[in-house]
């Protein structure tokens, strides 16, 4: 009898302490580099948006699903007209901004026009410029009329900047940060400690932690020290060497995340010798991509790519295998009139930390097919104005973009950043048709086709996409290995120590 009582008593105590542990205000502390030097803005559309803060304070109309498609967020459903030019979004009812105002279609209309306002200079403007007219049909319905067809408008609205802000807030939003998201602003101090607290009325239910503190630590080594000393819980980006400090340590979890960022080497298809598609193919065929990843980035530093800018996490990514083929490369060069090999000049710079080693690895691999690469390392200052898009063969880099965007911005005939000066009417047509194609399966076929054309004929050597590494305290829960752009802050939880 007595022992049973003791047992129950102990169980109660355990439960109580467990509850006390949970009830403690859990604070998530993360470090960021204060990259805009205190000019960080809480306006999600601003060119100097305060990234982590805006991610936690706003909702978009749609959110990224695991397969790369757009799922419901503030919009619960949507439909598109047969010509892919008119989109109708139905909004979630009962969502409130942090200020208490109820979300309505007017706010969405206002936000999207805010994005288009040239005065505000939002980086997302160029993507959303295809929107012609946006109207509120009723309290919870928004209709968007496009200038030209686009069957993937929801993917464009996935952009990290497309948070919904309240009507009339354009001039104050950079200070108030009034969104509908899981966290609301307590203290905005981009060069010190910015504090957010849980939004108790959040429409998905209360978030997993009570507070988020975003700590400015510009220096990467200092960030590592803060992590090792337990001053922060979450470090969004560390390099591979630093990874070793945290691997196999029970206090930390490290994650490697695939991204769509890529460095590459691009040939000008309008200049000798790269105006010959056979030369371009040979130049790309001599690369052993797996080896290049290992040598340039280190084991696991990236995912080999077969010259497609569309990364593996994108639903339009074309799967392909492209092993090194020295024999075929030699044959192609012969056919192009270079039976004794070819001399090429490759321009690179320390602008990006992988450029120089990538060039050196390429030089070695290409030698096997008689391609003699002379590397010119030019100063980082002025690289983008004097060398890139000027010299015939240069190193380049791009950040992650959705398939439609990267294909149009970097490869369409006449695009401002068409760095290979490639003109392929078939490619352009396929892109146009893909935008109009409302059938998803056929749309995917078209995007796969564009990547096939790039592989056969294009001038871009894209050896890999980069992986990034992050580390966080093992006290954190529900942080899936997804890119920073799509972390769902509301689900992250934290177990506090009972000390």
């Amino acid at each position: 009898m007595r022992s049973r009582f003791t047992g129950r008593f102990m169980a109660c105590l355990l439960l109580l302490s467990a509850c006390a542990g949970l009830a403690q205000a859990a604070t998530l502390r993360l470090a960021y580099d204060a990259g805009f030097g205190g000019a960080e803005s809480l306006d999600p559309y601003s060119p100097t948006r305060f990234f982590f803060t805006t991610q936690a304070m706003y909702n978009r109309l749609v959110r990224q699903e695991d397969d790369g498609s757009a799922g419901p967020d503030l919009a619960t459903s949507w439909s598109v007209s047969g010509d892919a030019r008119t989109w109708t979004f139905h909004l979630r009812d009962g969502v409130r901004f942090h200020s208490g105002k109820l979300l309505s279609a007017q706010d969405v209309v206002y936000s999207l026009y805010h994005a288009l306002d040239p005065e505000r200079g939002s980086p997302v403007r160029s993507t959303l410029k295809i929107m012609d007219r946006i109207e509120a049909v009723d309290r919870l319905t928004v209709r968007i009329h496009l200038k030209s067809a686009h069957a993937d408008l929801p993917l464009l609205l996935l952009d990290q900047r497309c948070g919904i802000i309240p009507e009339g807030s354009a001039d104050s939003i950079e200070r108030t940060g009034d969104g509908t998201g899981p966290f609301r602003l307590v203290e905005n101090d981009p060069e010190g400690v910015t504090v957010l607290e849980a939004n108790p009325g959040y429409w998905e239910g209360p978030p997993g932690v009570e507070r988020v503190e975003i700590v400015a630590i510009p220096d990467q080594v200092a960030q590592i020290q803060a992590m090792l000393a337990g001053q922060i819980d979450y470090l969004p980006s560390i390099n591979r060497r630093q990874l070793k400090l945290f691997e196999n340590h029970p206090g930390y979890i490290v994650q490697t995340i695939r991204t769509g960022h890529w460095p590459g080497m691009v040939m000008r298809t309008d200049m000798v010798p790269f105006d010959d598609p056979n030369v371009r193919r040979a130049m790309r065929m001599v690369v052993d991509r797996e080896d290049m990843v290992r040598l340039v980035l280190g084991e696991g530093g990236g995912e080999p790519s077969c010259d497609t800018p569309v990364w593996a996490g994108d639903k339009y990514h074309a799967q392909r295998h492209c092993p090194q083929d020295v024999g075929q490369a030699k044959a192609l060069l012969s056919e192009a009139g270079y039976p004794d090999g070819i001399d090429v000049d490759l321009y690179t710079s320390s602008v990006d930390k992988s450029f120089v080693s990538m060039a050196e690895v390429y030089q070695n691999q290409a030698a096997s097919a008689g391609i003699r690469v002379k590397i010119h390392q030019v100063p980082a200052d002025g690289y983008w104005t004097d060398t890139w898009m000027q010299e015939p063969f240069v190193a380049t880099r791009w950040n992650q973009r959705p398939a439609d965007q990267i294909l149009n911005e970097a490869f369409r005939s006449g695009a401002a950043w068409n760095e290979t000066y490639w003109h392929n009417a078939q490619f352009d047509r396929a892109l146009d048709r893909a935008r109009k194609e409302v059938n998803e399966k056929r749309r995917r076929e078209l995007y796969v086709r564009t990547q096939q054309l790039l592989y056969d004929d294009g001038g871009a050597l894209i050896p890999f996409h980069l992986n990034v590494n992050r580390v966080f305290s093992s006290k954190l829960r529900n942080l899936p290995p997804e890119t920073e752009l799509f972390v769902r802050w509301q689900y992250i939880g934290k177990t506090e120590n009972e000390e």
Binding site: E187, V193, A222, L228
Partner: protein
């Protein structure tokens, strides 16, 4: 006395003016201009024109210098290109933070250095001297960022007694700051102590061998009295200048230390502004460092004059 004061002040002002000319000229001598440096890949079209207009870059350099110097004299440091705010607003709290860090380190380091230096000098070639001199030599030869990293490894990461890096709101008060800067203060004080200590020790040894100390000892003056009344006052005078030099050194030391510890002071700010190619901000901070350097040295010189009976009498013309 007044004459020498005025003379010193005037020469300090001249030095400052010279530094201002150099700081301005160096920025002019760089290839391109402040706007192309800052904008980099984006330096074209309207953006470049706007930037140039905001800095009056279409005016001749001499005219801009006059404007810049006039604004400086009125306390207007201009605007930061990157932060788009008046530089005074940016620099103000950072300057305060650096002064706090430096002052706390100096308050601990200087007295400690003098006490240990006197001790080592008086007990020259005995065990306390060996220990003190040995450690101070170590402190002088190991770079401060190595010491800082060691301290972080031991006290912040292994034992977790003190924070590894400073995590503070921008407007943190001194009470909030102090518990956060234990390790940077120890690092700075450690290195600073070593320098001052060496000079103090040498100066004390000299004085201990001087005629007047020997005479006092021979006359039977007790050892303590010899040390405190006769030896120390003259032995400590040369340390004032070295203290001033060390405080000036603090300025460069602080840049490294602030970076290692993520301390929001002038040091981290100048590193960032160089990184951002924010020339107006770099110029302003460089000038501020020069100002502090000159001011500290000026104060030290005046203190030496005040405290040295010989110089004092020379100045007042009572013979020598």
């Amino acid at each position: 006395m007044l004459k020498i004061l005025v003379r010193r002040l005037v020469s300090a002002l001249f030095t400052l003016a010279f530094v201002a000319v150099v700081v301005f000229a160096v920025a002019e001598a760089l290839p391109g201009d402040a706007c192309t440096a800052y904008l980099g890949r984006l330096a074209q079209g309207e953006r470049l024109d706007n930037c140039r207009a905001s800095l009056d870059l279409d005016q001749p350099a001499a005219k801009r210098f006059v404007h810049w110097a006039r604004d400086l004299a009125q306390g207007d440091l201009g605007n930061s290109l990157k932060r788009k705010k008046p530089i005074e607003e940016i620099v103000g709290p950072r300057f305060r933070n650096t002064v706090i860090l430096g002052t706390v380190a100096a308050l601990i380091g200087i007295p400690l250095a003098i006490v240990l230096g006197v001790f080592a000098g008086v007990y020259r070639d005995k065990i306390p001297d060996f220990v003190i001199s040995g450690v101070s030599l170590l402190a002088m030869t190991i770079p401060e960022f190595v010491i800082a990293t060691l301290l972080i490894f031991v006290f912040a990461i292994s034992f977790q007694w003190f924070p590894a890096v400073t995590i503070l709101p921008t407007d943190a008060g001194i009470r909030e700051i102090l518990p956060n800067i234990v390790l940077p203060v120890i690092t700075l004080a450690f290195v600073m102590t070593a320098h001052i200590l060496r000079i103090t020790r040498a100066s004390v040894i000299d004085a201990m061998h001087s005629e007047y100390v020997k005479m006092a000892t021979l006359k039977g003056v007790p050892f303590r009295r010899v040390v405190f009344r006769h030896m120390l006052p003259s032995a400590l005078l040369p340390t004032i200048n070295i203290v001033a030099l060390t405080i000036a050194w603090l300025l460069s030391g602080v840049v490294v230390i602030e970076k290692v510890f993520n301390y929001p002071g002038l040091g981290t700010l100048i590193i960032q502004s160089i990184f951002d190619r924010d020339l107006p901000l770099v110029q302003a901070i460089a000038l501020m460092f020069a100002l502090i350097y000159i001011a500290v040295n000026l104060i030290a010189d005046l203190l030496v004059i005040l405290l040295n009976p010989k110089l004092r009498s020379q100045v007042s013309g009572e013979g020598g």
